[in-house]
């Protein structure tokens, strides 16, 4: 009896959980009236949408439900209803899709801007290769429309697309020009923008927004990698975009951090930036040759003096052995310590023997687990790849930061 109660209670909890998820989430999927949008499937999108709501005060919802009355009126009244129930954010946008009809309804000061683009928003959703990508394209464009109008970024606006923007003044002018040359060369070679940005102050922004905005609002290519050093918070941050996100995974970013953090914390900024450029170049080249460096496909260790050292030690040992063998050939005269040649056959008799156990000792040591010692500031690479988020300009960025 108790057992059955337990199971019933658990089922109830599960049911409530699902209900809560469906209502709380920004993405609601219903097919034949049943909710099949498991929260996990769209978790990343949901998280991104929650972040956008917190950061830019834009609440965006996507609803697919084929049980809605299949008419213009049907979707329209459903959306209005939904908007009424979801007030609070400065701007609220909802796209409702039924079997043959869709609608985009907005609420807030920038509402008209979005409504005007309703057809394009639906096309973005409809033309994407998967529903997942479609939803992402939809809300990224919404963010872009609203932010372009109202958003003032704290990140510097510069002209001429500099490869190095040393706002914190960490580099000498020689260093800036040689680093610029190096990064320009790499950028041209990979048809990407590979940048270095430093700053003394975040102007009240987060590191990630600052870096993303610098990249987005200064006319750089759709594919790129940016290393941002925030001196006020002692943070390093790598922002990636487009192919940059595909090639430099979360793991790859931590790999770069691991190699440069020592230089950064001892104020060898130029060295760190050169290393960053070389490592980024290496990671991109690996990726272009079909081997994206990730959790289960680690970068190879560099070929160093240690390899030569090991060879030299082996060389020394073989040379010593050779010398001893050759020297040994020159002399076969030695004292004989034994008389084994003169044992009378069958004369060896054992007349007494005892083997007495005097002590026994058992020691236990824990078995070593597969503890791979983690590198610098490990993030959770669940399944590898790059985690992405939408920036104020509505574009998708990869990347994360760490302290040095």
């Amino acid at each position: 009896m108790k057992k059955i109660l337990c199971i019933l209670f658990a089922m109830l909890l599960l049911g409530i959980g699902q209900q809560v998820n469906a209502e709380d989430g920004h993405i609601i999927m219903k097919d034949g009236g049943t909710d099949y949008s498991s929260y996990e499937t769209y978790q990343e999108l949901n998280e991104d949408l929650e972040r956008i709501e917190n950061e830019y005060d834009i609440a965006i919802y996507f609803i697919y439900d084929d049980s809605i009355e299949n008419s213009e009126n049907g979707v329209s009244s459903y959306a209005k209803d939904f908007l009424n129930r979801h007030q609070g954010a400065k701007n609220t946008v909802v796209m409702v899709v039924a079997k043959n009809y869709y609608t985009v309804k907005t609420d807030g000061p920038q509402g008209n801007l979005v409504s005007n683009e309703a057809r394009k928003l639906f096309e973005l959703y409809n033309n994407a290769s998967s529903r997942y990508d479609g939803i992402e394209a939809f809300y990224q464009y919404v963010v872009k429309i609203i932010n372009e109008e109202s958003y003032v970024s704290g990140a510097p606006r510069v002209s001429g697309k500099p490869r190095v923007y040393d706002g914190a003044g960490l580099l000498g002018s020689d260093e800036v020009s040689s680093l610029t040359r190096k990064l320009k060369d790499l950028s041209d070679r990979h048809d990407m923008d590979i940048l270095v940005l430093t700053s003394d102050s975040l102007n009240g922004m987060d590191t990630d927004n600052y870096a993303d905005d610098f990249y987005d609002y200064n006319g750089y290519k759709d594919d790129g990698v940016l290393l941002f050093i925030s001196m006020s918070t002692s943070e390093m941050y790598i922002s990636t975009k487009g192919r940059g996100t595909d090639y430099i995974t979360d793991y790859g970013i931590d790999y770069i951090f691991g190699q440069i953090s020592d230089d950064l914390s001892s104020d060898r900024f130029y060295d760190a930036f050169v290393k960053y450029a070389d490592l980024t170049d290496g990671l991109i080249r690996e990726a272009e040759s079909g081997n994206v460096v990730d959790v289960d496909s680690k970068p190879k260790k560099s070929f160093t003096a240690a390899n030569v050292g090991i060879s030299a030690i082996a060389g020394l040992i073989s040379s010593l052995i050779t010398a001893l063998v050759l020297k040994g050939q020159m002399r076969n005269v030695h004292y004989e310590r034994y008389a084994g040649n003169y044992v009378v056959s069958n004369s060896f008799h054992i007349t007494g023997m005892s083997d007495m156990l005097v002590n026994r000792h058992v020691s236990r040591t824990p078995r070593s687990r597969n503890n791979t010692s983690s590198g610098h500031n490990p993030t959770h690479y669940s399944g590898g790849g790059s985690h992405t988020h939408t920036s104020s300009s509505g574009s998708s960025h990869g990347g994360h930061g760490a302290h040095f």
Partner: protein
């Protein structure tokens, strides 16, 4: 006043002392202990053998190193086989023991030269000039005197042994070490352990050309000496016995230790090995001695006149040694570095 009597240690020949604690005779040199009852009669170390009185044999003495050799009247010895200096005839053999047995020469002078040339082959570090410049200065077939000892070794040995067992229990690696006190007692017989009785040829050399096959030995007859030289013993039986006994003791200890191979480690903790002396014999074994002169230096080689085993020490070309060592070092280092580099590039 009681008469002071000395007892020699049967193992090593040292003078035994009475150890009051154990009530036993104890040797302060080799730590052997013996029942005092064994020494009621002093052990007789004399050699039974007839004295040698042969007018056909003459003795030569080297003025330089003092070496004494014998040869039959028809074999004129002109130079000392040990140091190469002239020898003089000093008289007939008399007052020394006559060997009981002899192993006659089986291999001749030509064979000795062949084996010498073969010995030079494949010696990478031999100076290049050695083969052309070195000359065989002296090549002599010598009957070298040996004392042969029989003996039965009785041993009582204790070992500290351990045995290890490993297994996995859940999340733990377990290791069990069992400690054992191992005891072995028994005996083993040795026959004809030879000890070079001539101090002129180094023991290292005579031990290196062992073994001789005693089954080929013949009763001694002066006729065997014809055409060869013979050396006279100048090391006493007692002195030689120490060497033989130490070799017997070492072999005995290692034979007993080999009965504990089931243990992972086995270290002897204490042992007492008593060697019951058997017969001792004065014998002559055939050895070819070669003295090779190279750049004013004499290099000595020896060949077992019965089995042909050839031993000696050749000069080393230090320049060759250094360049070969350096070459191997560089070659291995470069090759391994290259392999690592290729593996690195391919991966």
């Amino acid at each position: 006043m009681s008469e002071l009597k000395e007892f020699k240690c049967p193992n090593c020949g040292g003078i035994l002392e009475f150890d009051a604690k154990t009530q036993k005779m104890k040797c302060p040199y080799c730590d052997g202990t013996f029942d005092p009852d064994l020494f009621n009669d002093e052990i007789d170390f004399t050699v039974d053998g007839e004295q040698w009185n042969d007018s056909d044999l003459v003795i030569y003495t080297c003025n330089s190193c003092g070496g004494t050799i014998m040869a039959d009247k028809d074999t004129a010895a002109s130079s000392c086989p040990y140091c190469g200096n002239p020898v003089v005839m000093t008289g007939n053999v008399s007052g020394i023991y006559k060997p009981k047995k002899i192993i006659p020469f089986k291999l001749d002078k030509k064979e000795a030269k062949d084996r010498y040339r073969k010995f030079l082959k494949g010696k990478t570090l031999l100076p290049s000039a050695f083969k052309s410049e070195a000359t065989i200065d002296e090549i002599k077939g010598i009957y070298v005197p040996y004392w042969n000892f029989d003996g039965r070794a009785s041993a009582r040995m204790w070992f500290d042994a351990t045995r290890r067992r490993h297994w996995i229990e859940g999340d733990y690696n377990c290791t069990e070490i069992s400690y054992y006190k191992v005891f072995r007692a028994g005996s083993i017989g040795f026959m004809d352990v030879p000890v070079d009785a001539s101090s002129k040829i180094g023991d290292e050399m005579t031990q290196s050309i062992e073994p001789f096959d005693v089954r080929d030995s013949k009763g001694f007859n002066e006729n065997y000496l014809a055409g060869y030289l013979a050396d006279k013993y100048d090391v006493s039986v007692e002195e030689s016995r120490k060497i033989a006994n130490s070799r017997i003791a070492n072999s005995t200890a290692s034979m007993f230790a080999s009965t504990t191979s089931m243990y992972d480690s086995c270290i002897p903790s204490s042992s007492s090995i008593y060697i019951n002396q058997g017969k001792q014999e004065y014998v002559m074994y055939p050895i070819w001695l070669l003295n090779v002169k190279y750049r004013d230096k004499i290099y000595s080689f020896a060949m077992n006149g019965q089995t042909g085993k050839f031993v000696g020490t050749l000069p080393t070309d230090k320049g060759k040694l250094i360049s070969i060592a350096l070459g191997v070092f560089l070659a291995v280092t470069v090759a391994l570095t290259a392999i690592q580099y290729v593996v690195y590039m391919v991966r």
